[in-house]
């Protein structure tokens, strides 16, 4: 954890990590007994799902939840039997469905999945039908949205959060797959304008992809997607219609169509309690417990387990939580390093205002939010300009959970707007 410098007048230096020159060979982690997969749809029609408890599945099998919603599906990474389908509540009341599969070690093989056949002839429709749950979580459905016309594809080769090097690793070792992925994306979407954003030291590597290369600064949060859109590519953002993909997602597309298999192995940056980093290559859906065992880390009561980076990740309440297709990092923090929030009011010291990358008057925003005036916060203090980088809460002297406050306020305003629209 980077602490405030003695010379507090200088801004805190939060720099992205760069991957070591010596190629770190990732530790391969296979799921032990079961995998958990999430489907992005509420589990409301229990009796009428297309998949049932007890169904046996093979690797690469498409598990669609409802007949009438082809977008709500996942891919089984293993052979086994569905042990449970249940409702799962994610961040900010996001309703999802969890599918738990008990692994059958001698289970069937994946040679003849339906994807193998369609992969000979890449098409957007089939890519969207099979790849949404693959490593990196490529969102291809956004090209099928009739209200949106995508003009530019941006490949994010620099990791958005600190300590994470997953996408850097993909650029370093899998640039060929990224290139294939970009070629396929161009072909199936018809969007020719592709930009790849990478850390300064990888500009040369990324040059081989025949996409426009943009270097991203090393200071947090310059590699944050919203920062890239606003500062690095303002003209493209102005035209509207940008589709964002992580480098890993594009590599998945490339690999899928060249091998005929849906890539379900993902790179996860693991940071142990002592701060050392280990890359693991893990099957999507694997419980984090299995990763902990593989990297030799033991968690104790009071520790914090984080899926994602230190600034924007999500704390987990159980080590049984699975690796999701877009989980780029897993961080374990010892309980002695945890700085707790307080309910001390804002003292107006202005640290947050000076560090905010998008000039939000955070001191005023906090006051509106404290009073529950979320609409005022949105109107007067640019609540929705926030890119959710977490820096305000990082520097807060009163240790107010500002970032959580902002999430809550946005959620409340969105819910109010939705209710108004429904009543209109």
């Amino acid at each position: 954890m980077i602490k405030r410098s003695f010379f507090g007048i200088a801004r805190p230096k939060l720099e992205y990590d760069t991957i070591e020159d010596v190629r770190p060979e990732p530790v391969s982690v296979k799921p032990g007994r079961r995998v958990t997969l999430f489907i992005d749809a509420p589990f409301t029609r229990a009796g009428r799902t297309m998949i049932k408890k007890g169904d046996s599945v093979v690797p690469g099998q498409r598990l669609q939840l409802y007949e009438d919603n082809p977008k709500a599906y996942t891919i089984s990474p293993v052979a086994g039997r569905i042990a449970e389908i249940s409702s799962f509540l994610g961040m900010m009341e996001k309703q999802m469905t969890a599918v738990i599969i008990d692994i059958d070690q001698e289970g069937g093989d994946s040679a003849d999945t339906p994807f193998k056949e369609v992969s000979q002839n890449p098409s957007l429709q089939e890519a969207a039908r099979f790849l949404a749950a693959s490593a990196g979580k490529p969102d291809l459905a956004q090209f099928q949205d009739p209200d949106r016309s995508v003009k530019t594809i941006v490949v994010l080769g620099a990791d958005r959060d600190l300590m994470t090097v997953t996408n850097q690793y993909v650029i370093k070792t899998g640039i060929a797959s990224v290139k294939t992925g970009i070629d396929i994306l161009r072909k199936i979407t018809g969007v020719q304008n592709v930009v790849i954003t990478v850390a300064q030291h990888q500009v040369q590597v990324a040059g081989s992809t025949a996409a426009g290369v943009r270097a991203v600064g090393s200071k947090y949060p310059l590699a944050h997607p919203e920062m890239i859109l606003r500062y690095l590519l303002p003209e493209q953002t102005g035209q509207g219609g940008i589709a964002l993909f992580t480098a890993e997602a594009v590599a998945s597309i490339g690999e899928a169509f060249s091998s005929g298999l849906i890539p379900m192995e993902k790179i996860v940056t693991t940071v142990k309690k002592d701060g050392t980093r280990k890359l693991v290559s893990v099957t999507v859906g694997t419980p984090i417990t299995d990763i902990l065992a593989a990297v030799g880390e033991k968690i104790e009561p009071g520790d914090r387990l984080i899926a994602g980076g230190p600034m924007t990740g999500a704390a987990l309440y159980s080590p049984d939580h699975p690796v999701e297709p877009d989980t780029d990092a897993v961080i374990i923090q010892g309980k002695e390093t945890i700085v707790e929030g307080t309910d001390t009011p804002c003292t107006n010291c202005g640290q947050c205002v000076r560090i905010c990358p998008v000039n939000i008057p955070v001191n005023e925003l906090v006051r509106y939010m404290d009073a529950g005036e979320y609409e005022q916060a949105a109107e007067r203090t640019a609540l929705f300009s926030c890119i959710e980088c977490g820096l305000c809460a990082y520097v807060c002297e009163s240790r107010i959970p500002v970032f959580q406050f902002i999430r809550l306020a946005k959620h409340a305003v969105e819910r109010m707007n939705a209710a108004e629209e429904a009543n209109a």
């Binding site: 954890m1 980077i2 009071g302 387990l305 205002v353 000039n359 970032f403």
Partner: protein
Amino acid sequence: MPNRIKLTVSHAPFWHDGSSITTKHYNIIAATLIAVIAGLVQYGLPALAVLTLSVGSAMAWEFLMNLLMRRPVSIGDGSAALIGLLFGMLLPAMVPWWVVIVGTLVAVVIGKQIYGGIGGNPFNPVAVAYAILLISWPLYLDFNAMLVDYSFNFKAAYPLVLYKFQGTGALDFGMMDLLLGRQTGGIGATFGLGLILGGIYLIIRGFIRWEISVSFLAGIFITALCFNLCNPEIYASPGFHLLTGFSLIGAFFLATEDSSSPVHFFPMLIYGALGGFLTVLIRNLGAHVDGVIYAILIINLIHPLIEKIRPKAMGRIMHHA
């Protein structure tokens, strides 16, 4: 078998830079020490009594208000101690004990707690207390009257009183003497060098905002210089204004109080410069001897207004319905 280990679950970010308001307050207290020790050397035990009573009673009032308002006890965060210390530093060494206690009562209760405690006060609590006391019992805050029992090896008249009532002709202070505290005044407000060093320490550590201090001093300097150039026979030099009265303690320790000052760049400059300007205006043209306290109260008052001058937030995202 579900894993039953209880983990710490909280919202991002999971890093914190380790700063806290307690650290900040104790650092500000530490930064006053050079000036405070110089004051103690000059005024002896009575000054120590005033300072300890001031700090102690401020913390006692804070504790009492915590109990009355059923809020968590907050005397440990250093805020009340700092208010007490700064208030004591403004007082003459021989001030009656009850004036100190009433002063800290006003500072902590009326200046801070009735607005909801730390962070809620629209005015600097110390300035509020000092202004109310100055109006109520001007005699006890009159440095010439209060320090009459002392004998100094320098001119014992309070420089700003001399300036106000006898004009520039009576001012035969050397700048170096003023800087080194060879003048009468508040216990902790006369040793200019100590205040400057403390202020620079706080600026480097990032505990106060340099924009406010620098523009406050620049405001005093430029305004005083203009007056001085117009008529040097009537108006004192800018150096005199900078080194006497509460100019330095005001610039580094009072105007920079977080809750009552702006945080954006240009508002900070305007806020400070206006404070300096008003200080000299009150001293040169107004009825009062020193203008710092009133100037700070006035800029506190306008701070929410000038805070509106700020950069536009980048790219307002249309939130998807």
